[in-house]
Symmetry: C2
Subunit: 240 residues, 2 copies
């Protein structure tokens, strides 16, 4: 859609720091509380070789991209993982630092590189945090350089089939909405719709194969809420 | 659903050999003619390192599982691939042998093993031919043993999100239907609905990672028609 672009996403989030912090803290987003929060925790801990009971300290390290006010960073830290949260929005990172343990920093997606992120990670996780077009393509390009050879990139996003609505099932910008959120929100960010095939192409084009795919379902409605994709780098030579 | 099982699928197809041959020969299935036939040809030729113009004879060999009257075997043979078609239905294989070149044989899915299929293949392709439950699980278990280490398993199936309809998005048997087909068809086969996550689990549980995923779209309706998944065996040791 003409006039919608990546810059508007950051501008919108900078205006909605306070209601977003409330929405997470007071568990106002039903799909997260009932389905997707637990789904992403289980996927990360399972693929890290860790377990949700938090018994084993694996020593593995995780980068939580688009960490917001840091709930996932804190939850994963509890399981024994060493987690760093990054977010483009200063106000969210400031809040994250006050809410408990965790290593948090501000970094815009366009600034991601192996210079700004010199460490290598076992897991990079992006939980509903890849909303744009070029910014997301950039993130995917950089991640192979900040991921260990046997590392894994995990994303959770709105299930494209559920999120498509009546529109044609093709990539493109869509108008945002805060329907269902509290009245404190304003100026919703546009978002770039991607089909499942298009998400897969982002993985393939950047050297990944898919090691897992989940479609968390809301069992009350019987419909898939989100899509979780986990990619591993295919820098693995074939040994006969 | 109680009372539906894999055996009914084969029984149904044995009754519908003649109208099926007509449906393919006279191009009566719009989604195949407009979208999915070309999509599977392009995926196989692309992943075989071949090309659709048929210029290069790659020498690679393909097993077409559930080949029916053999149209895909013949099309892939034209591109220079060496293709064997297998199908559980004698009447379809008999017809395939009369329609042109190609190596065809009868084999029920339950009989698949490295004994009944002693050769190894670069590509195994299943085009709308994985309809059941246990029979499909068995096929997936056997394929790693008949696929070369660097081989690829390609399936095309009804897109689960389009095919789900109003029912809950969970695996299970569904009643069949010949709606939209000619009047010559009778006793539709039941089919086992799988979510995208469930298809992915079949790959993962049998040692595959996903190397490609496509969702061919009917651009007239703007909706995805099918789902193509391509898996490679992860018997690849990590080399640092």
């Amino acid at each position: 859609m003409i006039g919608l672009d990546d810059k508007q996403i950051l501008a919108s989030w900078q205006k909605n720091v306070s209601p977003w912090i409330d929405a997470i803290q007071y568990k106002q987003i039903e799909s997260r509380v009932q389905v997707t929060d637990q789904a992403i925790i289980e996927t990360v801990t399972s693929l890290s070789g860790n377990n949700v009971s938090g018994n084993g300290v694996s020593g593995k390290n995780v980068l939580d991209v688009g960490c917001g006010e840091g709930w996932l960073t804190r939850e994963l830290t509890k399981t024994g993982l060493s987690v760093t949260g990054v977010d483009a929005v200063q106000g969210l990172v400031d809040k994250a630092k006050t809410l408990g343990e965790g290593d948090f920093r501000v970094l815009e997606y366009e600034q991601f590189s192996d210079k700004t992120i010199p460490q290598q990670y076992d897991i990079v996780v992006c939980n509903f945090s890849l909303i744009g077009n070029e910014s997301v393509e950039h993130i995917f390009k950089v991640i192979p350089s900040i991921l260990r050879d046997d590392g894994v990139l995990i994303i959770q996003t709105l299930n494209p089939h559920t999120g498509c609505g009546e529109s044609a099932y093709v990539d493109g910008w869509r108008e945002g909405s805060w329907d269902g959120f509290s009245q404190g929100f304003c100026d919703p960010a546009p978002w770039y719709f991607r089909t499942v095939e298009s998400w897969m192409q982002l993985f393939i084009n950047n050297g990944f194969v898919l090691a897992d795919l989940k479609e968390p379902v809301n069992y009350r409605t019987g419909k898939p809420v989100s899509l979780i994709l986990a990619g591993k780098l295919l820098s693995l030579p074939v040994v006969a």
